[in-house]
Symmetry: C3
């Protein structure tokens, strides 16, 4: 059912991005699953790059955060097999590659948060930190990491 919802939102769970380096994309520790920082890659191509507030608009930044969240779900699905095992989304951290004086990180981060709410309903509501940074890996516009809790 969750996969169906994700399709209706225009995404699928195929094509989890490979890590950029010597780490793995998701790890389970007891009932928590942590993802690596996800960047807005689709089919091997970085789709949103540069600084939000200058190279990238807020609206594009929001789409970038949404794609990062989907990539988070992709790597979680590959680890646990089925997103219906998720009890709730616990935490989302959104690092926004920010132009000088750009302070709308929360609007950008909403791209991830609103998507998770659409997909999981109340179980998708999470705590969140949105933070501006001056540079991100391979010039990604946004990087998102997630913690989810599995059902007992």
């Amino acid at each position: 059912m969750i996969e169906q919802l994700i399709k209706e939102l225009g995404y699928d769970l195929d094509g989890a991005p490979a890590p950029l380096a010597e780490y793995i994309p998701a790890v389970q520790a007891d009932k928590l699953v942590f993802t690596a920082g996800q960047i807005p890659i689709e089919k091997g191509t970085l789709k949103y790059l540069g600084k939000v507030g200058c190279d990238v608009s807020i609206e594009e930044g929001k789409k970038a955060a949404e794609l990062c969240a989907i990539n988070g779900l992709r790597v979680i699905r590959n680890l646990i097999g089925d997103l219906n095992k998720i009890e709730r989304v616990v935490k989302v951290t959104v690092f926004v590659n920010s132009a000088d004086e750009f302070t709308d990180q929360p609007k950008v981060a909403n791209g991830a948060s609103e998507l998770l709410f659409k997909i999981f309903g109340e179980k998708g509501r999470h705590v969140r930190s949105a933070v501006g940074v001056n540079e991100l890996p391979i010039n990604a516009a946004v990087e998102v990491e997630m913690i989810i809790q599995l059902k007992d």
Copy 2:
């Protein structure tokens, strides 16, 4: 008793700030409670804004971090009902909106850490990361997120 201590320090637990966007302020996962990133808002007004080391002094930045920590306790109290349920403060992450060449993030972060030690004693001692960033939401001077552990 903890609420009494907090009053003696000049704060109260009313007025937990509303999230800036589509997320919730605190989430429990087993015995851990995670807060959203807290900024130095009091009664709906951002009290410390701009970059520490230029717009904001270290001393003001420290007060900002203190207020963020109080806001963290406010949202935790609203979730769990009573701060006496806290077994210990586990982790505090302090993002400091930093002017170029400002490298005293630990002094700023001490505003949060010292307050938590005053309130909780040994149970208030936590691990901490203090990090400088170039921009924060709505130009906040500091953003603080917390993880606490509940008693069994």
Copy 3:
């Protein structure tokens, strides 16, 4: 055995760095151990300082991240007594003090990740976020925090 491996890699577990301020270096919450943010200090001296991509090369940044990871293991060992109690490394977050337009944070962060894999093998594989920031405490080139899971 793990301590032997660490020695063969040119490090030892003595000399865990003291916190820069009012916090503690490692905390256990159930089966998870969280470290404070570690900077590349050796015997009380900050060995790598300034911005990667300008003051510090990628190769030096990688060594800095490696030293931060060793410092993380040092503070964990001091808390739990024996690194053989580690079930796995769960998460590593690497903040890289980044020059403008420096976007090779993953290469820097590999200094930590590759070391952990050498020491712990498959148990050392973790999720990771690598993030660029404009300033770090006392001008450290890199700051690394870790979460590990203990055996039952």
